[in-house]
């Protein structure tokens, strides 16, 4: 019975199950990011408008999703709201929805920040050559804001991917949840399996997140090179 913990990973279908869990994680984070980014850009643009009521509502939306911890949001959407409102979605859809709304909120602030930090003379020049509001945003403000917001957006993306580890609380079979199943199922034969399973999960998250943060750093460097010559 010379069991090294690492063999836990390759017994039966364990490795493919972990990969399956990782796919669930990536799918939820990916779809949530795409939906959230679209939502966030629209809301971010709306937040630069002058209408006070609109701005107040969007501000409340942002603060709600920023202040309330993600765990609480997941519980609220999975257990509490369905009971009151009589709708019932599967756990992974709820997870995607919550993460999309959260990304949308955070993203709206990033977009707003980027839009108002485009130099003022750009906006004024645009207006001076007779652009309407749509054209102003489409051709002048948004293209210049995008370079400003990319690093913060990628940072947000890595945060979202890491936060998916909370999903086991609402019964989503993500990579952490499957990892725990494997650890518990093999605890009596492979007591050191826990180290290897979490080690592999760490590697998975690293392989997804590190390229993103490397990309963010490179984009930021290029932007500085471009602006400072």
């Amino acid at each position: 019975m010379d069991h090294s913990g690492i063999s836990v990973l390759f017994e039966g279908t364990n490795f493919t199950r972990l990969l399956g869990g990782l796919w669930v994680t990536v799918k939820i984070a990916g779809v949530a990011l795409i939906l959230g980014l679209i939502l966030g850009i629209v809301l971010g643009v709306l937040r630069t408008f002058k209408n006070r009521l609109l701005r107040l509502i969007l501000r409340l939306y942002l603060e709600f999703f920023r202040i309330v911890p993600t765990v609480v949001l997941l519980f609220l959407f999975y257990y509490i709201l369905p009971k009151q409102l009589n709708f019932n979605l599967p756990a992974d859809q709820i997870a995607t929805l919550v993460f999309a709304l959260w990304v949308g909120a955070e993203m709206s602030d990033i977009v707003r920040g980027a839009l108002i930090s485009v130099p003022k003379h750009q906006r004024e020049s645009g207006l001076a050559i007779g652009l309407n509001r749509y054209q102003l945003y489409r051709y002048v403000l948004i293209p210049q804001a995008i370079t400003l917001e990319i690093p913060a957006t990628i940072n947000l993306a890595t945060r979202v991917i890491k936060t998916t580890s909370l999903l086991m609380l609402i019964s989503v079979m993500d990579v952490i949840n499957i990892g725990q199943q494997i650890i518990e199922a093999n605890n009596h034969t492979h007591p050191t399996g826990v180290f290897w399973v979490y080690g592999l999960i760490f590697l998975f998250y690293f392989l997804i997140d590190y390229p993103l943060s490397w990309w963010a750093k490179r984009l930021e460097k290029r932007r500085l090179e471009r602006t400072n010559g």
Binding site: E63, K83, M173, A185
Partner: protein, 286 residues
Amino acid sequence: MKKKSFARLIAIVSVFAALLLVLTGCGNSSKKSSSSSSNNPSSVKQIKKNGTIRIAVFGDLPPYGWVNQDGKRVGYDVTLAHQVAKDLGVKVKFVQVNANNRVDALNSNKVDLVLANFTVTPERKQVIDFAKPYMKVSVGVVSPKSKPITSASQLKGKNVIVTKGTTAETYFTTKQPNTKLLKFDSKTQQFNALKNGRGAALADDNSYLYAWSKDNPKYTVGIKSIGPKSYISPAVKKGNKSLLNWTNKEINKLTKQGFFVKDYNQQLKPYFGKEVKPSDIVLPTK
């Protein structure tokens, strides 16, 4: 400067006001939904119509509910779940839960039935309905063999590890307030904490601790039974008479058929070792 902080104050206050509105809104509508419980999504009729029963089980608690290396759910509770589905003539869909979201899973209609090593307590009875028990247990305390804990008085002022939402947590919180509790979200975490020496002992259902200490010979169940004996039952949503009555009949039938002794021998015996007999866990036929 002053104006700015004032605006911020207003913003914060309005956020809380909005939150309050959301919460009170929830409170109001909950009264409505409980009064109009005529269309019960978890009644026997509805389950048969859907062709599937959704059963909450553990995924990380061998030998009750866990996943083997082929990715299949197995265990004492899972065998019962398959039998229940077979007798209802429907397919079974498993929803994996943790100890502290078993009640919520029922109340928010995520599952029809909970078969997740669910101990009957008076507090839980207020929020959900338990069927007849199919197992009996009490709280036990496991500690390292090198520093065994054999009586509750030894735990005074020491760290005791528990999982949130378990009977052990409730017992130590109410009856042993002198101990410091370290609470964890899952079974995996609590045993890791004990192995890492974060607490002097760990409290959980005794049957489960027998199984665990058999695989971890450095630890011993120093206190075999503490607090009152308790029972493990299937649970349904509060007021779901239809499924409750059906489950009671099912448990009676299965007990008479000796299903649980068979289930014990198949699923639990390899884990518990010789010191535990089926009659320590399974309830006698009445």
